[in-house]
Symmetry: C2
Subunit: 151 residues, 2 copies
DNA sequence: CCCGCAAATGCAACAAGGTTGCGTTTACAG
DNA sequence: CTGTAAACGCAACCTTGTTGCATTTGCGGG
């Protein structure tokens, strides 16, 4: 799980970027790398913090926004908005592991829990509609919050 | 559809607010009224525009934020975030008609379609979890967008 | 009907998240 | 090696949302 920082991984990101048909720059490689090694979608602020880690020249705020936009535009990253209204970015493909899961969202603490159950088969769609993904989301109160409330 | 601006409707909002146990003010009544007569959740900016319509003193920006927060806090309004990361508010109850529907969201045009089908029974939850609402969301391309893409 | 107090309002200032314009640097094709 | 379009850095700006504080107002009780 905790993979060594082999230079090989950098090449993977670089190759992906090259294959996407855009210029390979250090910034893009670093950002895509960070997205790949993240276990959750990251906000702009979180990415900025992570990239400031090494002695690197700490990339510009605007540049990071533009890099993220370009990665989204060429299909290497995905952009979504969280419950606070902040954009979060993830490496394309990373979210596939959560597709077709059943999720439980706690309306109290905002937590998301993956249930083991398989999603039910989708109903028949009107003519011309093409299905891509199903999300079976249950909303309510999780065990922890139920307990605190009941007390 | 276009209902007359009977003063009766104002009283309905006022009564709801009073029943919720908070002070009845002109601002709250106007806002709740606007939310009730809206067909979709409204953003702060949209509400501000609608309320500026009559010769009313055009309520303060911050006051509108606080009125919305208070309506949410006492359960008369709901707050959600849209794809742009902006908060949208709706009168409580207005969305109930969409709860427990099956929805199809077009990832192309962003449109939401209500399907007639009933949502499948929810799976067994871990101990302590309390279910409140189920959302069976299908994502893909709607008929119109499929057609345009195929062309 | 008036009084008092907590709640609500208005105003100003601030903070975070995101965008635009422009001059400079850099990847990379020829 | 060189030219050029793309990417970058910087400064300024916009929108959305929040905080502090002084003033006004709803409304319960005298």
């Amino acid at each position: 799980m905790a993979r060594a920082l082999a230079p090989a991984q950098i090449d993977v990101s670089a190759d992906l970027i090259r294959a996407a048909g855009v210029k390979v720059t250090r910034g893009r490689v670093r950002v895509l790398d960070a997205l790949h090694s993240a276990r959750q979608p990251l906000s702009h602020a979180e990415l900025e913090a992570r990239l400031g880690d090494p002695a690197e020249p700490a990339m510009d705020r605007v540049t990071l926004y533009r890099i993220l936009d370009s990665l989204v535009a060429c299909g290497l990253a995905l952009k979504a908005v969280d419950t606070r209204g902040v954009f979060r970015f993830s490496a394309a493909g990373a979210q596939r592991q959560h597709a077709n899961h059943v999720h439980f969202r706690c309306t109290d603490c905002g937590g998301v829990f993956c249930l083991k159950a398989e999603p039910p088969p989708p109903p028949r769609l009107p003519r011309g509609f093409r299905l891509n993904e199903v999300a079976f989301d249950l909303r309510g109160t999780c065990a922890g919050c139920s307990l605190r409330e009941g007390a």
